[in-house]
Assembly symmetry: C2
Homo-oligomer: 462 residues x 2
C-alpha cells in the first residue's frame, strides 16, 4: 500500500457516518468541526438513518444514497456495524476511513475479533483505516476530531504530533494550544492502529515541508525497523521528539492493558536505538510539553555557552549549580564585554556571568537594563544562549515581557524563568508564550531544554 495519507488530510469529499443532533455526542462534534474547517460544504455528507437535516445540511440515510464518490468516511458507530459499512465504502470509492468510536481490542476478545475483521476487509478493499478508538485529526486545514476546538485555539503551526492514547492526545493538544500557545500543523490520534501507524505518519511528516518539528507519544513501535529508518532521515534536518511509555516493568504491564501494544523487547535497547537515530527523548509529559514548545519557538544555539541574566543573585547561584550538572558552560566574560556592561553597572559592582543585574536595574529600570544587557551578551560571540530570571512582584519591579519577544532577532535562544506572585507570573507567562517565547517555573527544566537544543544543534546532519 502507498503511504499516501492525502485522503485523510486533504480529502475532496467527506461522509460522516453516525452524526447526531445532540451536542454532547461525538457524532455532533465531528460534523461541527468538519463543517467549520472543510471549505467545500457541498461535499460534506452527514449520514444518520433517523434524521433529515443537521446544521443546515441534508442528512443521508445511507452511503449509497450519496451522489458520486466519497474520499473519506469518518465513523462514529458501534463496531459490529463496521464490516458491512466497509463494503458500502468500497462501492463509493472511499480511500480512507477514520474510526473514532471505541470497543475494539482494548475491551477484550470480542473487540479483538471485530478489529481483525475490519483490518482484513480494509486490505481486501484497499481502504486505509485510521483508528479505531481514536480522536482523529486536527490540522491547520481540516479538523475531524469530536473534541470541541475553538477558533482562538486553532493556531497554525509547524509542529506535527502523534499520540496513541485517546485522553492523552486530547489533553496534550488542549494544553499545547491553550497553555503553550503552540501552533499545530498536524495532530494525529492513531488509537488502536488497525492499519495506519506511526510509520505512516512519520513518512507523511517527512514529505510535509511545513512540519518543522515532529513529536510522538508511543507505547510501542509497530514496525521498529521502519520507524528508526524514517527517523534517521527526519532528524537529519528536523527535530523528532519521542515520549516512550512502558520502559519499566510495571509500565510495560500497564501498556498491555492500555493499548495492547507490542511491549518493547528491551526498553533499554529501544531507547538506545532511538538515541542512535538522534531522536530526542522526553521522560514524562511535562518535559514532552517543554521540548515540543521550545523547538519551534526558539532559534537553535550554536554552542553550549550560557549567560544567566538575573535580578536575584540566588537565581544566578542556583542556575550555575544546575548548569554544572549538564554539559553547559557559563563562560567568564571577556574584558571587552565586561567593559560594555560596566557602563550600566555601578563602579562597585563589576558585571560577571551569571549577570546579577539588580544594580543596573536600580539605576536604569529593569526593562531598559535588560534591553541593553541582553544585546551586549548576544552580540559578543561569547554567548550561545541566555537564561533570563525575573521575580514577579506587585511593587518595585515593572517588567515588560515584550523584552523577550524583541530579543528574538538575535537568533539565539533565550528562555525565561519567573518566580513570585502567582497572578503576575501567570500574566507574564501567558504574554511571553503567546508572543513566541518560552517560560519555565523550574530552573532545571529551563537548562535541560537548552542542553537538549544545543546537543541537537551540534549533532544534526552528522
Amino acid at each position: 500500500m502507498q503511504p499516501d495519507l492525502s485522503c485523510f488530510f486533504n480529502p475532496e469529499s467527506i461522509a460522516i457516518i453516525g452524526v447526531s443532533r445532540n451536542s454532547t455526542k461525538a457524532g455532533y462534534g465531528i460534523l461541527k468541526n468538519v463543517l467549520w474547517t472543510f471549505p467545500n460544504t457541498e461535499k460534506i455528507f452527514p449520514i444518520n438513518p433517523r434524521a433529515k437535516e443537521i446544521m443546515g445540511l441534508k442528512v443521508y440515510h445511507s452511503l449509497t444514497e450519496i451522489p458520486g464518490n466519497i474520499d473519506l468516511a469518518i465513523l462514529f458507530v458501534t463496531p459490529r456495524t463496521i464490516p458491512s459499512l466497509l463494503q458500502a465504502c468500497y462501492q463509493k470509492g472511499v480511500k480512507g476511513i477514520i474510526i473514532e468510536s471505541a470497543g475494539f481490542a482494548e475491551i477484550g476478545k470480542e473487540g479483538k475479533t471485530i478489529q481483525e475483521e475490519i483490518r482484513c476487509l480494509g486490505k481486501q478493499f484497499n481502504i486505509r483505516i485510521w483508528g479505531g478508538n481514536c480522536m482523529g485529526t486536527v490540522t491547520d486545514e481540516l479538523i475531524t476530531t469530536f473534541e470541541p476546538i475553538t477558533a482562538d485555539m486553532r493556531r497554525k503551526g509547524v509542529v506535527s504530533i502523534v499520540g496513541q492514547s485517546g485522553y492523552f492526545s486530547r489533553a496534550v493538544i488542549l494544553q499545547l494550544f491553550t497553555e503553550c500557545y503552540t501552533g499545530i500543523r498536524k495532530a494525529a490520534s492513531i488509537g488502536n492502529r488497525i492499519d495506519i501507524d506511526e510509520c505512516d505518519l512519520l513518512q507523511n511528516f517527512l514529505e510535509d515541508e511545513t512540519t518543522k518539528v515532529a513529536a510522538f507519544y508511543l507505547e510501542g513501535l509497530k514496525r521498529p525497523r521502519k520507524y528508526l529508518k524514517l527517523a534517521k532521515k527526519f532528524t537529519r534536518t528536523r527535530p523528532l521528539i519521542c515520549l516512550l511509555g512502558g520502559q519499566s516493568e510495571v509500565g510495560r504491564s500497564a501498556v498491555l492493558s492500555h493499548t495492547s501494544s507490542n511491549a518493547h523487547g528491551s526498553p533499554q535497547l529501544l531507547s538506545d536505538l532511538l538515541k542512535l537515530s538522534k531522536i530526542i527523548q522526553a521522560t514524562e509529559f511535562g518535559e514532552f510539553f517543554n521540548i515540543v514548545e521550545a523547538f519551534p519557538k526558539l532559534s537553535l544555539p550554536n554552542g553550549k555557552r550560557l549567560a544567566i541574566v538575573t535580578i536575584t543573585g540566588a537565581g544566578g547561584v542556583i542556575g550555575a549549580d544546575i548548569a554544572a550538572k549538564y554539559n553547559i558552560t557559563i563562560p567568564e566574560l571577556s574584558i571587552s564585554t565586561t567593559h560594555k556592561l560596566q557602563n550600566l553597572f555601578p563602579d562597585w559592582m563589576p558585571p560577571k556571568n551569571p549577570v546579577d543585574s539588580w544594580p543596573a536595574f536600580e539605576i536604569h529600570g529593569l526593562d531598559e537594563a535588560l534591553r541593553q544587557i541582553i544585546p551586549i551578551l548576544f552580540e559578543s560571540d561569547e554567548i550561545d544562549m541566555i537564561l533570563l530570571m525575573v521575580a514577579a512582584m506587585q511593587v518595585a519591579i515593572t517588567f515588560d515581557p515584550t523584552v523577550v519577544r524583541d530579543m528574538k532577532k538575535y537568533n539565539k535562544p533565550l528562555v525565561t524563568y519567573i518566580v513570585g506572585d502567582d497572578a503576575i507570573k501567570s500574566q507574564w507567562t501567558s504574554q511571553i508564550r503567546s508572543e513566541g517565547g518560552v517560560v519555565f517555573d523550574d530552573i532545571n527544566a529551563a537548562i535541560k531544554i537548552l542542553d537538549l537544543m544545543a546537543s541537537y544543534s551540534l549533532t544534526k546532519g552528522l
Copy 2:
C-alpha cells in the same frame, strides 16, 4: 548572647527609623505593615526628622524624644548614620534592630567597614542585629517587611522559612502565599547576617511548637557545626528542608559576589553532612516550593507503596516508568481489593494498579468513581500513597476538585497531576491548593515528592 529572638518576633514596642509618606518607599511599607499587624498602636513610634504625622500616628524627630523604653527598632536609613543610631538605641533600651536598607558588604570595601563597625557596636551594646540588606520578617503575628502583604495573602501556617537573598526571599514568600496557598508561621530574610544568622533562627524554630516544617535557602553556613547539631535535633520530629546554593564552581564564585558568604569548603562534604542530619535537600527553587508546600499539607506515608489512579492510560504507563526510577513500588492489588474495585468496572476491564479508571468513570461519572476507588485503595492496607491523574477538558469530563480535599481524612498522602486545557487546569489547581491539596504539572516532581516524604517518614526519629 542568648539566642532569644522575642524582641524581633514579639516586641512590646517598635520604633521605625526612616518612615516615609511616599507610598513607593520602603519606609512607608514598613510602617504600614507594622501598623496593620502590631496590636498596640500606642507602642508604635515612627521616626523622621522632617515629618509630624504619618498614617494618623505622631512622628518623632529622634529616638530620644520617645517616652519610655523601646524593644525593637526597624531601620531604613543610609548605612553611615547607623553607628550613631546604635548609641541612641542603647540609651532607649533597644534589644534588637532590623536593618532593611542595603549598602553594606555587598557593595564592597566601604560597605564592609561600616558593617563591621555596626557588628562591634551591637556586641558592645548587647543589641542583636538583624540584616542588613534584608526584608525583615513576616510572621502570623507581626510583619516588619516593606513588601506589601495583602490580607488574603496573610495566611497562618506551620512553615517557618529563612532566605538569605533579598529578592529571592521576597519572591519566594509571594509565591508560597499566592500560588501554593502555603500558610507561614515565620518568614525571615536574614540578608548580610551582621549578627543574627541561620543558627539563631533554627534554634528559634526548634523552640517554637507552631513551626511544624522549617525551610532554609542558604549560600553558606556561618556556623556549620552548630547548624548541623541543631538540625539533628529538629529533624528528629519535624522536616527541615534546605536549598544550598553554590555547590558548583561557578555557583560558588557567584555566591562571593552575591552574599559574600563563606563558600562551602567542599560542597559535596557539606551536602553529605546535611544528609546525615536528615535534612531534605532541594536542588532548585521549583523543587524547594514543591517540598515546602507538600510537607505541611499532606499526611506522611507509612511506606513506599504507590497506587496510581488515572483517567488516561498513558498517565499510568508514564507514572509507573517514573516510579521505577525512584525507590517506589506500585504493588499488584490483592484479590480482595480487586474484587471491591471490580464492582465499579465493566467485566471486560479487570482493575489493576495503575488503576486506569476511565471505564469506571464512563459508567459512574468521574467524581463518583473517584469517591469510591480512592477509599477502597486507602483502606486496603496495601497502599501508602496515591497519585491521582486527571485531564482538564472543556467537555466530557466534569471533575470536582473537592474530591481531593475529602480524601484527606484517610491520613495518607494523595497528590494530583493535571494535564490539559490551561484555564480549567488553573482553576482546578487553585481550588485544590487552597483547600489543602497538592498539585503538580510534572509527573516526575509529583513522584519525587512522595519519595522524599516516604523516605523522611521511614527514617525520622531513628
